[in-house]
Symmetry: C3
Subunit: 116 residues, 3 copies
């Protein structure tokens, strides 16, 4: 079987898990959830960049993304940050739906799968 | 590492991403969202068939499916279309939950992973 | 291509699908949905243990988990059962969001991916 490497493994979840050449990231939310959806999305994507780097890969190898936002009225604001961040020509398969998150302060959560 | 091939890659997302022998499709919604959940589910599954074919595979190799419907009262109507579409004996691992989608006109969104 | 093995394949979905050394489980809910979120989470995790065993693996090889709960006020109760169940040092990448499930009696649904 392929090797499993866990990154920042806590008692509840790992921030990332590498299985062979596939990297699974946890659902990421903003550290500072007092910011609006624009600020929170920037924080989330920066954290995804950090975790992908720890896993030995980067956003140009994203395979799949699941995005949850708490208010679909903020879809455009989230997308503006997303569109500026993704690697041109290397966008993942993506789905975005509305859902309440762990606390009402969170406006967006993103969970990705990448290749390494 | 395994090769990555992106299908209908746009500036925001790709419709499908092939990584080695795993195919990740985007969350698919109906082009004509004036139809009811039955019509929309048929459209979504036809689009999934089209994308799987472009990726060199088909519904008999589905691995996993995530389904979001906007109103759980329409679960039976969605399932009737799904059950008639899936490849007998080759059904994927599946989960269906309720969620609001990008616009209220969308009644169903489906995101699958397949082997090729 | 890698081999596909389906476990408890029904006309709508399979309980688990093994593709190469990756195992995709269906979204699992409690058989007895009269129980509270604590009891339901225990049932769900026992069923995940059973399916992982049928697939030739176990919870120490979990890669990713998606959890849906119907009421975020029950997040702590679900987590207490989860935290006691996971394999220390081998926790998966995880995301939890709120969603209505197939019937209001269900309080929690969990869908995992594991290595074998």
């Amino acid at each position: 079987m392929a090797n499993i490497t866990r990154i920042e493994a806590g008692p509840r979840m790992s921030k990332a898990v590498v299985h062979g050449d596939t990297v699974y990231l946890a659902g990421i939310v903003a550290d500072d959830n007092t910011q609006d959806v624009t600020g929170q999305t920037k924080q989330v994507l920066a954290e995804i960049d950090r975790l992908l780097a720890l896993a030995g890969t980067d956003k140009s190898k994203l395979l799949r993304a699941n995005i949850w936002i708490t208010d679909m009225a903020q879809f455009g604001a989230m997308n503006a940050v997303w569109d500026a961040w993704v690697s041109p020509g290397n966008t993942p398969a993506r789905a975005t739906v509305q859902a309440a998150l762990a606390t009402p302060a969170y406006k967006v959560e993103i969970m990705v799968v990448a290749a390494k």
